[in-house]
């Protein structure tokens, strides 16, 4: 089974500093986002899934967040049995996504607290985690789980390193548990984050790691398409 653990906003520098071994796997590094105008979540995940730079196409949409790839455009079309859980540009739960965006707005409008905001994000995280582990028990050729707590929590708390470390630890544990089931595992983020006071904004590189002897030199998100199909 090939497993992709997609982690939105996982920052290479934090992974390295915290030294979580499971996130780092056998080989790890940054991804090159220089072909993109900006490190936008929807653009990068869609480009990763399709092996093509989808920036122009997505920016031409009226509402970027409603963009969806057809299965035939994604790497999943190359596998018989596949599942992608909550992946942006493909299977993401838009209602949850809209709730998160509204909650962030509410926070800055002083209508909600960090605690309420975090509670909602973690509840979703726990739901995805459950579904992801259930999928690993089944007979898929490829499973992709998408976890967004590092990014969504990071926007309000990336500057609080001790708190972020807990989320990275949680992701490290998820990857560890996943490794028991996966033959090949890719951990990948769309972009990382940088601290602005207690808050966080997207950084200009992503993160990747493989459990196999695959050495990559600053790959682009689109490079993984061919690589995964060949595997």
């Amino acid at each position: 089974m090939i497993v992709i653990v997609g982690i939105d906003g996982l920052e290479y520098d934090y992974v390295k500093e915290f030294g979580f071994p499971n996130l780092m796997q056998d080989n790890y590094g940054t991804t090159d986002l220089s072909e993109f105008e900006e490190p936008r979540t929807m653009v990068i995940w869609s480009s990763f899934l399709s092996g093509k730079n989808q920036e122009k196409r997505i920016l031409a949409e009226k509402e970027m967040w409603k963009f969806k790839l057809g299965t035939e455009e994604t790497l999943f079309s190359k596998f018989n049995k596949h599942i992608a859980i909550d992946v942006p540009g493909y299977t993401q739960d838009m209602e949850q996504h809209n709730r998160e965006r509204q909650a962030m707005k509410d926070f800055f409008d002083d209508k909600t607290t960090v605690e309420e905001y975090d509670k909602m994000v973690f509840a979703h995280h726990n739901k995805i985690k459950e579904k992801f582990f259930e999928s690993l028990e089944q007979d898929y050729d490829i499973v992709m789980g998408y976890f967004n707590a590092a990014d969504v929590i990071g926007h309000l708390s990336f500057g609080l390193k001790a708190k972020m470390k807990l989320i990275y630890k949680e992701m490290d544990e998820i990857v560890k548990k996943t490794s028991e089931k996966a033959d090949t595992m890719l951990v990948i983020s769309d972009h990382g984050m940088k601290a602005i006071g207690r808050f966080g904004d997207h950084s200009n590189h992503g993160f990747w790691s493989f459990n196999k002897d695959i050495k990559l030199e600053n790959p682009k998100p689109t490079d993984f398409y061919e690589l995964l199909i060949k595997l």
Binding site: E115, D118, L166
Partner: protein, 410 residues
């Protein structure tokens, strides 16, 4: 000004110094509640138990950013007592700070990993505490959780330490089994060490006394400058210890002239009294020959100016200082030419290796017990009595290259 008991925590790297600092702060509720709560609530939402290690992560972060945790001094309070932890990044910095007066420790906590036992750095730090004359010492045997809280292991390491301590004048007031990580016997008494009947770390610290405040010491008012204004001579400087008021009888050293304080000059409201820490100017009831470097003392506590001093010296210069070489001795505003007459014992300050007795020179980072001979008499005091006049720096080629504390008044 509020009084603080200041103490330093020393020990081998990884024996738990920063965890002990974290535990002291956490268990005395000295950490900003809000951020710790945010970490606790994150643990809860992720369904994970809250661990003390997360507090340490938070502290490291604060330290990195320089918030809450000042890198040099950490303040906290328990009950009515205020404490300052002097957090020296390394022993060299610590000794340098102590010698230059940047920090003064009232007490010290020596931390030892009970599992690993006594290490080279433990020995070195004990030597330094002894050299600096710190008498109020607690030894904590940390990481008791790692040895199953076994009394036998505690006793074993304690006996080893007692053997080593017999070489020094240091007599720890307390030796106690703790686990900083688990919070045993730091602020809260532990049930895991039912066999231990002594105090917790905080209770032990609370039993220590602050060094007598400089206000309560004898008057030392080094003259920095003399101004003539409206026909009056104003002796200006900073009062290093004690206090003075109008009408006090004083003596000017080393000349020995006596006089009475006529007025305390102040820019602003009129003062009749001035105390340690204040920069001020005074006038006297008669003409004197006082000059920069003279020391004004109370006539009742007149010290004998010295030309021979025994001291512990720490040399920091790149080039060594040789016996007999002309250098300068500076203490407060007193500055005189001096020579090292004897280097009775010298050690490598990093390894504590004895490098020789009756040596000819002190090289960089070497420490020694030396005799100094000064060209003119200066006022010196026992470092533990009046620190400002008990410590000095040594200047060579115009640069401060060494420092020391007076150990013996002949």
């Amino acid at each position: 000004m509020e009084e603080y008991l200041s103490f330093v925590i020393v020990g081998h790297i990884d024996h738990g110094k920063s965890t002990l600092i974290g535990r002291l702060l956490y268990d005395t509720d000295s950490l900003p509640e809000e951020k710790i709560e945010e970490i606790k609530s994150t643990c809860q939402m992720l369904g994970k138990p809250f661990e003390f290690a997360y507090v340490m992560d938070h502290l490291d972060e604060e330290r990195e950013k320089g918030i809450t945790i000042d890198t040099a001094q950490i303040f906290f309070k328990k009950g009515n007592r205020n404490y300052i932890i002097i957090d020296a990044p390394g022993h060299k910095e610590f000794i340098k700070n102590m010698l230059t007066g940047a920090s003064q420790a009232d007490a010290a906590v020596v931390i030892i990993d009970t599992d690993e036992g006594i290490k080279e750095q433990t020995r070195r730090h004990i030597y330094l505490l002894s050299m600096l004359g710190i008498e109020q010492v607690i030894v904590v045997f940390n990481k008791m959780d790692k040895v199953g809280y076994k009394k036998e292991r505690f006793e074993e390491v304690k006996a080893e330490l007692e053997g080593f301590l017999s070489n020094f004048s240091i007599k720890p007031a307390y030796m106690m089994p703790i686990s900083a990580r688990e919070g045993d016997n730091v602020v809260n008494k532990s049930e895991n060490t039912g066999w231990y009947e002594g105090p917790t770390v905080i209770d032990a610290l609370n039993s220590f006394r602050n060094r007598l405040s400089l206000l309560e010491r004898a008057l030392r008012f080094p003259v920095q400058d003399i101004y003539e204004m409206d026909g009056k001579k104003i002796y200006a400087g900073r009062i290093e210890s004690g206090k003075l008021k109008n009408g006090d009888s004083i003596v000017i050293l080393p000349s020995g002239e006596t006089a009475t304080v006529a007025s305390i000059e102040n820019f602003g409201p009129e003062l009749s009294e001035a105390e340690a820490g204040r920069s001020t100017g005074i006038t006297l009831d008669r003409e004197t020959k006082a000059e920069r470097g003279s020391m004004i003392c109370g006539s009742g506590s007149k010290p004998e100016p010295k030309t021979k001093i025994k001291a512990n010296v720490f040399w920091m210069g790149n080039d060594p200082v040789k016996k007999g070489e002309e250098i300068s001795y500076k203490s407060t505003t007193q500055e005189v030419t001096c020579r090292i007459a004897n280097i009775e014992r010298k050690i490598n300050s990093s390894t504590l290796e004895l490098l020789g007795t009756d040596s000819d020179e002190l090289a960089g980072l070497e420490a020694g017990q030396v005799s100094l001979e000064l060209d003119s008499p200066v006022v010196v005091d026992d470092f533990n009595d009046i620190p400002p006049t008990g410590r000095f720096v040594l200047v060579k080629d115009g640069l401060v290259q060494g420092g020391g504390i007076v150990t013996h008044l002949e």
